[in-house]
């Protein structure tokens, strides 16, 4: 190993074994701080938090008690510290409308969202790799061009418009599928289609690009010249290498899944956390919105961090700061 030369790149000297992981953890902490600040700002938005949380009809004693509890008479920095302590105890306050605990309201909506997101992520990634690989093999031919065209179409089709077109076709026109709710197995078809299409397009493009890149490398050529069967090369050489590259975008994908969930759940009146966020915004239910933003934000950070760590573990070049 070389001595730690004054590296111009951002990743700290290659000598430190853990610098990659530390940098990623620092980023995650920074993002968490940003999210908590955002939530804190929300809890202080719209004037007096005591009025917002307790409603206009609260008695002066109640307002006073609330101020005591949240330390609203203290400087902002102290308030922020208290806020963080309360958050870490899982106290997100109560919904302004149902007076139920925010954590409770959110918890009962999570399964519906997961039941949508898990199949969508699975389908999007596996179909994307499959179609992208197929296109890469036929690079430049008609079928490759058709796949590229299809992925451009899917990529540009906004999910809210696709959802509307699907409802119009299958619910209004053909009366085949329910347009809202998650009551039946059939209910899953349209929301999943809406979410999967654009995501498959993204993964297809990416898988195609990285497969073409890898299939042009010399070590693939040498396997071919040794007479290794093409499917074996694809499956055991190209695909594992391409999936490392795919891992990089799956971090960002989690964020886009959340964004997609908000829109798609609203279109299909899906009783998940995404539609809960929009209805909470419409009723200006500050504690609920704040809780949901924390939930979304923190799960994205956690997922990103997991992907980054995994990436560093799988690919030594990454954690050693070597550019390929």
């Amino acid at each position: 190993m070389k001595s730690p030369a004054p590296s111009r790149s951002r990743s700290s000297p290659a000598s430190s074994r853990y610098s990659y992981f530390l940098a990623k953890a620092a980023r995650a902490c920074g993002t968490v701080a940003a999210i908590v600040l955002l939530a804190f700002a929300l809890s202080h938005a719209s004037g007096d938090p005591a009025q917002v949380f307790l409603g206009g009809e609260a008695t002066p004693e109640a307002v006073h008690a609330f101020r005591e509890k949240w330390g609203l008479d203290k400087p902002l920095a102290v308030q922020l510290a208290r806020y963080v302590v309360l958050l870490s105890q899982g106290d997100l306050g109560k919904s302004l409308y149902t007076s139920r605990k925010v954590t409770e309201v959110i918890a009962e909506r999570i399964p519906a969202t997961l039941s949508l997101m898990i199949p969508v992520a699975f389908l999007a990634i596996s179909l994307g790799i499959l179609i992208g690989t197929a296109a890469a093999i036929r690079n430049g031919r008609l079928s490759d061009k058709a796949i590229l065209l299809g992925s451009t179409l899917g990529f540009s089709l906004p999910n809210f418009f696709l959802g509307i077109v699907l409802i119009f076709t299958f619910s209004v026109g053909l009366a085949l599928l329910p347009s809202s709710g998650n009551m039946y197995a059939r209910s899953f078809i349209m929301p999943i289609m809406t979410l999967v299409l654009a995501d498959v397009a993204v993964f297809t493009r990416f898988a195609r690009a990285s497969m073409i890149d890898i299939l042009g490398k010399y070590y693939i050529l040498s396997f071919r010249s040794l007479g290794v069967k093409e499917w074996r090369i694809l499956l055991f050489q190209a695909l594992p290498n391409a999936s490392i590259a795919l891992l990089t975008i799956s971090g960002f994908y989690i964020g886009s899944l959340v964004g997609g969930a908000i829109v798609t759940e609203t279109i299909f009146a899906w009783p998940g956390v995404g539609s809960l966020l929009i209805s909470a915004i419409r009723s200006r239910d500050f504690p609920l919105v704040q809780g949901l933003i924390l939930l979304f934000g923190l799960s994205i950070v956690a997922a990103n961090l997991a992907v980054d760590f995994l990436y560093g573990v799988i690919d030594p070049r990454v954690r050693k700061g070597v550019s390929s």
Partner: protein, 273 residues
Amino acid sequence: MTGERRLSISIWAAASILAALSLASILYGGNAHEAQDLDARCSRPYLIGGDDPRYLLGADQLGRDLGARTLAGIRVSYMIALIGTAVSAVIGTLLGFLATRMKGIVEEAILMLVDIQASLPFILVAVAFLMIVKSSFLVLLVLLSLSGWGRYARLTRSLSDSAMKDGYALAVRALGASPGRVFFRHVLPNISSALIVNMALQFPAIMIAESSLSFLGIGIQPPLVSLGRLLGEGRTYLTTAWWISVLPGAVIFASTLAMTVVGDWMRDRLGES
């Protein structure tokens, strides 16, 4: 290659769609999109067999001309996407340059911000802000402009980092040019193609972001119309008058598709990282 020919046809088609839509929306003036005609509520587009020839593209739930409303919507949506793209390009490029120039703690801070922004989906941040600040054209514009600067900052930093070590940059520096002059007069023109490609691909992204927010009812507010708002409001009338939401939706799709095609083409021609 036959592909070249087909490619250029799709580029022409995409560019003409964008030019025609923006030109029509610029030429369209006045308030025809606000005029209500309650007798014509939800009337079917004349082009597909409606009764009223005054409403070529149909009318909405209040009898307002859908053609005019769509044009007014295109104007707002395009303007936001255009300004948002430009502003985030300028901010991102400047910060990217600053990161290359300052190094140390400034660079770390900028890159940290870029990372944070990249990992939080825009819609989440936008939702939080729109809860605090009442949504308006200006607020949306600011939010969307701040949503995409990260990629430019990253691109500018990594490209100018290596460009600053190139012979030409070293030569100009040796002649005593200030870092600002080296960057803006010499390095920027050399890395601009990558930035322009990024702008072309960001335009549809900003457009979809604005449309999503407006569709959800927290973006563009009445009396302003945007394509997303039209689509969102027409959703209620899907069973009786599907054209109210399908027309603006189709226009959004056509615009994002056309811009993506143009962006892809530019990337292939100019070559981008």
